[in-house]
């Protein structure tokens, strides 16, 4: 049989060029965060100066602190509400369920800019002072949807007979939830939680519209630095942010791995 070697070879080369395209900018960014030269993209020597400077910058530390506060609080609220929603949606029937279902997906799909401006207008309308609280509320709003979607997927993959079996064995509905349902959807909840935190941690646009004086988040700080011009400090803070996200992804993948292990049982 005649093989189409040239086509195969070309596909392979193409694929690795695409991966180069995807990873090269990130690698360059990280490498140049250790470069002594400030203005030109020319390698002049290794330094940790830019990192040191970051941690001497009170505004930067403040922004990191704000981002952590917003991320942690909004993730906690969104995880609880999103999980409850997912369970409620998978278990109950109620009028307007389809409408609620669509509304639940909308924050995921509508352009961020629209969500940002609508929240800004809303806060101004109800005369809510912009600050950390207004960002947290905004982040909870989109994260409820993301958590609900992730947990629902997990619930959908669960054997519906397990809960029945628990009831049959004498577990009360509460015990069934506590000892069967909750442990089984836990990987989904953790994955949703990590996703929510990542989204909050990375969000610039919505925070941009809903932040007030003194509530600048890390992405907002980075944005203002970028607007000011390229500088190695941005490379340094970018590297830290990348590292942080990578750790979160790693944890998420580990959780997913556990999920797969329990899924193979049926």
């Amino acid at each position: 049989m005649k093989k189409i070697e040239p086509a195969r070879w070309m596909l392979g080369t193409h694929a690795w060029l695409v991966y180069l395209f995807i990873y090269a900018p990130i690698v360059v960014l990280v490498v140049f965060s250790f470069n002594q030269e400030r203005i030109n993209a020319v390698w002049t020597g290794f330094t940790l100066d830019w990192y040191v400077r970051l941690f001497q910058d009170a505004g930067m530390l403040r922004a990191i602190y704000n981002s952590l506060i917003v991320g942690l609080i909004s993730t906690a609220i969104a995880t609880v509400l999103g999980t409850m929603t997912a369970i409620g949606m998978s278990r109950y029937r109620f009028p307007l369920k389809r409408v609620f279902d669509s509304v639940l997906y909308l924050p995921i799909i509508i352009p961020e800019i629209v969500m940002g401006v609508s929240l800004l207008v809303f806060y101004v309308f109800i005369q809510f002072t912009l600050g950390t609280a207004s960002i947290i509320i905004a982040h909870v709003t989109f994260n409820i949807s993301f958590v609900a979607v992730v947990v629902r997927a997990r619930l959908a993959g669960m054997d519906p007979w397990l809960e029945q079996a628990a009831l049959d064995l004498g577990a009360t509905p509460f015990q069934t939830f506590r000892y069967i349902t909750l442990p089984l959807i836990k990987p989904g909840i953790i994955a949703g939680m990590l996703l929510a935190f990542t989204l909050s941690w990375d969000d610039f646009l919505i925070a941009f519209f809903t932040a007030g004086v003194g509530s600048t988040t890390l992405p907002m700080k980075v944005y203002s630095m970028i607007k000011f011009g390229v500088s190695p400090e941005i490379n340094a803070i970018s590297t830290i942010t990348l590292l942080f996200t990578m750790i979160l992804i790693f944890i998420a993948l580990r959780v997913e791995g556990v999920t797969h292990a329990t899924k193979t049982m049926d």
Partner: protein, 359 residues
């Protein structure tokens, strides 16, 4: 005997679909009871209602004379072995079996003792720390059994317990399950669509069709004297006297064939001949060269049209009066006279083996 479990007038519909229609049954203490029927006959729904996992629209269930209607599943003294076992994937074998006892907050020493004993009962000693996902189908089935039995329920429900196993394992488990039930003396109610499984294990069987119990009885009663055409066909092969002259006279029913011969069947009660259809199982029939003299034996003459050798058995197709083609199954040839295709033979069977269904 006073029944342990009494079901009266149970009805359940899903929308316009009547899944159970006025089902009434009684199960005795220590009985191995089977609900048998094709898929969609309502047997699984009935099992779920007994377990308390589904609510009936109307009718009552009582256990030991006490109504179960308002008792939720988790407070019923009834446990289930689910079709796909529904083992908790995040719990070890030990914790799966211990689950029911833990939920009732039993002391842990007692739990340990009972779980080990239950695992021994199903021959899974030493499997305590395994995860269910790592077990074979047969082992999972045993864990499911131990998990239910450890609670010492009054009634154990089994939903197609052997359905997921391969044929060889299924045969073996049938016998084991039967032994287990005998030794424990617990009432087992088992759902299956496999008539052979029911015949092997059951003390009594209820054959169901489209939400109705067609017939209840011991395997022998149901096999030898099916009351409806559906039961006769579902339980095995039958030869029917379709289109013959059937009369009910005195204590018997007589079938008059167009070659002048008469076949008798026992009549139970005072049924009129209208709509009755007599029949006989292929393996109840003897093929002989001579007319048997015994009056308690039915005999008709026919011509052998075809002989097929199937495994260890012989199938004969015999054309008798009224153009009926009867099938006869015999285990061996050696004990009988040799019969060849085209031979004129007599088909003989005891009168009591003739059953009569409502056509």
């Amino acid at each position: 005997m006073k029944p342990l479990l009494e079901i009266d007038g149970l009805t359940k519909s899903y929308g316009p679909n009547k899944v159970l229609d006025q089902v009434s049954l009684q199960m005795g203490d220590g009985e191995f009871f089977f609900l048998l029927g094709p898929s969609g006959c309502g047997k699984t729904t009935l099992l779920r209602i007994i377990g308390g996992l589904i609510e009936a629209d109307s009718g009552t269930i009582s256990l030991n004379g006490e109504s179960l209607n308002d008792i939720p599943a988790y407070r019923r003294d009834i446990n289930t072995v689910f079709q796909n076992y529904a083992l908790f994937p995040h719990l070890s074998v030990f914790e799966n079996v211990a689950f029911g006892l833990r939920m009732k907050k039993k002391p842990s020493g007692m739990i340990r003792e009972k779980v080990i004993k239950a695992l021994g009962l199903v021959e899974l000693d030493g499997f305590e720390d395994r995860m269910p996902g790592k077990l074979s189908g047969g082992q999972q089935q045993r864990v499911a059994l131990a998990r239910a039995l450890v609670n010492e329920p009054s009634v154990l429900l089994l939903d197609e317990p052997l359905g997921a196993l391969d044929v060889k394992l299924r045969r073996q488990m049938q016998l084991e399950l039967k032994h287990l039930q005998r030794n424990l003396g617990t009432t087992f109610i088992c759902v299956t669509h496999d008539q052979e499984e029911a015949m092997t294990m059951a003390d009594r069987i209820a054959v169901m069709r489209e939400g109705i119990v067609e017939q209840t009885g011991t395997p022998e009663e149901i096999y030898n004297h099916p009351r409806t055409r559906f039961v006769a066909n579902f339980m095995g092969e039958s030869n029917f006297f379709t289109g013959c002259d059937i009369r009910a006279e005195g204590g018997t029913i007589s079938i008059h064939l167009d070659d002048g011969s008469t076949v008798l069947a026992p009549a139970d009660g005072s049924r009129s001949a209208d709509g009755l259809l007599p029949g006989v199982r292929p393996e109840k029939i003897d093929i002989t060269g001579n007319r048997p003299g015994d009056a308690s034996v039915n005999a008709v003459q026919g011509t052998v049209e075809e002989i097929v050798f199937v495994g260890t058995m012989l199938y004969y197709m015999v054309r008798i009066a009224n153009g009926l083609l009867f099938r006869v199954i015999s285990q061996t040839i050696s004990s009988r006279q040799r019969v060849a295709e085209g031979d004129r033979v007599y088909l003989a069977w005891p009168v009591e083996d003739t059953f009569v269904v409502e056509g």
